[in-house]
């Protein structure tokens, strides 16, 4: 059941099979595309590619989970950006002191699409990469092992705690706990019967874990060997080359004035 909490989508698609490092480069290319240009029509391209990728790898589940955040960022960006921008072009809307010009709307739309691309690209990555691949990839990119281990542990514990929280929730619901509704104070009070058992469980877990680590000979600073390192396949090289090409081309094009407003 814990599978449903983890962001990784257990499927076998081309994106899943890519080396996490190649995947990172590929997604970076999408980010560069979204970042160097400001014309929303151009930014729509990486945004749509990211969306298509999320859906094609089965990441709808994750998208649904963050949809509120995505929509909120999009809307807030769209509302806030025009305040900081110089007006220009035709006036689209004029209500009292609020004047919205074409230029402001265009740029705001571009910025919002940019943020959405970042989120969608991130979703593609976490939906298709197991924690194990991520940790190995990080280490093979040269990140120090203690940091990789910490990242891996955090990601692994997350579903465990969500699972524990689920059990606590059921246990308190069975005792008639009211888990929602009422004023903010009532809600906060309602959370105490959930939070305390979850924290106590987590605390005990961490205690046991540190002892178990020690007993398994773990020494973050000591020497160790690494089993099962990842190997770059031909498709990983191909994606990396294409992505680097896209990044360079896009940067040069942007410097040359393409996609500007």
């Amino acid at each position: 059941m814990s599978q449903a909490y983890a962001p990784f989508v257990d499927r076998d698609t081309l994106v899943h099979r890519l080396d996490p490092r190649a995947k990172l480069v590929g997604i970076s290319a999408l980010f560069v595309l979204a970042y160097v240009f400001s014309n929303p029509v151009v930014i729509a391209v990486p945004a749509l590619i990211s969306l298509a990728l999320v859906l094609s790898v089965g990441g709808y589940r994750n998208l649904r989970r963050v949809r509120v955040i995505v929509i909120a960022l999009f809307v807030v960006g769209f509302v806030v950006w025009p305040v900081f921008l110089a007006p220009g072009g035709a006036v689209l809307l004029a209500v009292g002191p609020v004047i919205l010009t074409e230029r402001e709307v265009f740029i705001a739309l571009g910025r919002s699409l940019r943020i959405v691309t970042f989120i969608l690209g991130g979703l593609v990555f976490i939906s298709t990469t197991t924690t194990e691949e991520l940790v190995r990839g990080l280490r093979q990119l040269g990140v120090p092992y203690p940091i990789c281990f910490a990242v891996g542990t955090a990601l692994r514990l997350f579903p465990t705690f969500i699972g524990a929280a689920g059990t606590v929730r059921q246990a308190q619901a069975a005792r008639g706990a009211d888990l929602g509704g009422g004023s903010i104070r009532a809600r906060l009070r309602g959370f105490i019967p959930l939070l305390i058992p979850v924290f106590m469980t987590a605390f005990r877990n961490i205690q046991t874990q540190s002892m178990a680590l020690e007993a398994r000979g773990f020494d973050p600073m000591g020497g160790r060997s690494f089993y099962g390192d990842l190997r770059f396949q031909r498709r990983d090289w191909a994606l990396t080359l294409v992505s680097v090409g896209v990044m360079i081309t896009a940067t040069l094009a942007a410097l040359g004035g393409f996609g500007r407003i």
């Binding site: 257990d10 194990e132 619901a173 020690e214 398994r216 000979g217 000591g222 160790r224 060997s225 089993y227």
Partner: protein, 581 residues
């Protein structure tokens, strides 16, 4: 130190802090090399503390107030960091969830050898060997450990330690969460780890040390150390330690049922049998006559109440939960009727659907198909409060629900949620605390109580709402023999005198035989047996098919008169053998 000792402790005294009580005092003991040693004792009696010393976690990792010496193969463990002896002494702690570090099965097993700097090519071979030993070699190795069942996780932790190829392997209650088949598989794994009949390579640890509450596991050991009152109360081979019923009771350790029975039958201590086979021989040589016709047909005396009107009815109940691949069917085509006052044991191996079914009964989950009715009305027609008032649910781990500052507040939480207040609430709380025998501790902090006491606080919190039915999910895990007996006697009494309907999930077949007149067996989400507990235990073939194991007294009866209904308790066995002398 003699060469026959794997680890020795001399004059060890320990407390976790300067203000904490002394856990062990002046302990001298030796773990024999090349043997399986089992440590038994009351819960809270220092077993886990002692284990933590065997690889030096105490005092090198948890310093506390330590005096004395610990030596393993010439190494002073009081001055050596545990991770430096990890290649020599492997340890499996109690809570397997907290010991899984890998993100896949492969990564999990490789983790220990990686820490030791073992060459990746060699790790490959070790992974194969360790997974074969732990009977996990048929599972997809890319799966994350979190997706495995409890028993599989437990065996994976053992594989991870075995891959480090230690000389000594230490395990803290490795079977407490396992079903009978899982326990048997694990014990056979430990035997295999010891003799390592896997091709080539490492020959298994010479020495195994294990803590357990299950007396049957102790019977199979080479050496037993019994702790009581912070010291070693007895030490020796099972034949010496486990026949002394008085000493076992004093240390709050379970007495082997056959010892209890034959002691009452007047057999002298040195001749008391520990296994059904030994008991069979004794019966033949000592001239006992076994006559099971004296046994009751139904439940043992003083168990079960008369049942009344229908409480639950389930028809065609199915529950599936979604995964990325295809939905998993946890419960399927279940028809069940449960009457008021029933005492039902819900059994089956890990992952057979017991917990899911019990949650469907409480309405914590809604069935995908089929109907559940409570008192004749669909469960869905009751509000959560109405359901909660009628049915209580005691979860396996009391720590998943305790949160209040005092025991009294904790117990009052449920009833006050259900609208009780003032004097009525106080009276309910006091009565519930009285019932579970915790009145003197009403103003204590629940977190400072023992596991057995915390379990009773959780039960009191449910009793105070005065439900008609209580569902228990493995309520006796982690309780020692005395706490276990007290808890079950309390539940049995509530069933008989208050007419409380009891539905209990358990892996403990002794508990099933002794307390539950009716057993419901689940396998792969379906109910495969529903009936009289004695009928269930009379057919060894059926038990084997469901991967269940009969209590020892029943196993003896299968040897003596396989065609007759067997005794379920020591008392019944005594009666069938002519009564106590």
């Amino acid at each position: 130190m003699s060469a026959d000792q794997a680890i020795t402790l001399a004059d060890v005294t320990f407390a976790y802090g300067p203000d904490d009580p002394t856990v062990l005092e002046g302990v001298d003991l030796a773990i024999p090399r090349g043997a399986v040693t089992v440590i038994v004792g009351a819960s809270g009696g220092g077993k886990s503390t002692l284990l933590s010393m065997l690889n030096g976690l105490i005092p090198s990792f948890i310093s506390g107030e330590f005096t004395g010496s610990i030596t393993a193969a010439g190494t002073d463990l009081t001055t050596t960091r545990t991770n430096r002896v990890a290649d020599q002494i492997g340890m499996v702690l109690q809570d397997y969830e907290a010991q899984l570090f890998g993100t896949s099965i492969t990564a999990e097993v490789a983790f220990g050898p990686e820490n030791l700097g073992v060459d990746p090519v060699e790790i490959d071979a070790r992974i194969d060997r360790a997974l074969a030993l732990a009977d996990l070699d048929t599972i997809d190795r890319r799966r994350p450990p979190s997706s495995l069942s409890g028993g599989q996780k437990q065996r994976l932790v053992i594989a991870g330690v075995a891959a480090m190829e230690p000389r000594v392997m230490i395990l803290d209650e490795p079977t407490s969460d396992l079903d009978p088949a899982g326990t048997e598989a694990l014990l056979s794994v430990l035997q295999r780890v010891r003799t390592a009949d896997v091709d080539g390579g490492w020959a298994g640890p010479e020495t195994v040390v294990m803590v357990t509450h299950a007396v049957e596991e102790a019977i199979g050991a080479d050496h037993i150390i019994m702790l009581a009152d912070g010291g070693v109360a007895a030490s020796g081979p099972p034949a010496a330690v486990l026949r002394d019923a008085a000493a076992l009771r004093a240390a709050r350790v379970g007495v082997p049922p056959l010892v209890t029975a034959f002691d009452a039958l007047g057999v002298e201590q040195a001749a008391l049998p520990l296994t059904p086979r030994a008991a069979e021989t004794l019966i033949e040589t000592a001239g006992f006559t076994y006559d099971p016709r004296v046994l009751p047909v139904g439940a043992p005396a003083e168990t079960g109440a008369d049942t009344g009107a229908e409480l639950f009815a389930l028809e065609g109940v199915r529950y599936e939960y979604p995964t990325d691949r295809e939905p998993v069917i946890a419960v399927d085509a279940v028809d069940l009727q449960i009457d008021r006052g029933a005492f039902i044991a819900l059994i089956g191996h890990n992952g057979s659907g017991k917990s899911t079914l019990s949650k469907l009964l409480h309405g914590l989950l809604d069935p995908t198909a089929g109907t559940v009715t409570l008192d004749g009305a669909p469960l869905g027609s009751y509000s959560a409060t109405e359901r909660g008032r009628r049915i209580g649910y005691v979860f396996q781990n009391p720590d998943h629900q305790l949160f209040a500052e005092t025991v009294r507040d904790e117990v009052a939480f449920g009833p006050s949620n259900f609208g009780y207040s003032g004097d009525d609430l106080d009276a309910r709380v006091s009565a519930a605390l009285e019932t579970v025998d915790l009145s003197p501790l009403a103003d204590e902090d629940p977190f400072k109580l023992s596991r057995g006491q915390r379990q009773r606080v959780a039960l009191a919190g449910i009793l105070a709402t005065d439900p008609r039915c209580i569902i228990f999910d493995e309520p006796t895990t982690g309780l020692d023999a005395t706490q276990h007996r007290q808890f079950m006697q309390l539940v049995g009494r509530l069933n008989r005198t208050e007419g409380l309907t009891v539905i209990m999930i358990t892996h403990d077949m002794e508990t099933v035989a002794r307390y539950a007149p009716r057993a419901v067996v689940m396998d792969a989400g379906r109910v495969v047996f529903d009936g009289n507990t004695r009928a269930l235990f009379s057919d060894p073939d059926r038990l084997a098919r469901y991967q269940l194991r009969a209590p020892q007294v029943t196993q003896l009866a299968h040897r003596l008169a396989p065609e007759m209904p067997p005794p379920l308790t020591e008392r019944e066995l005594i009666a069938a053998l002519g009564g106590s002398r």
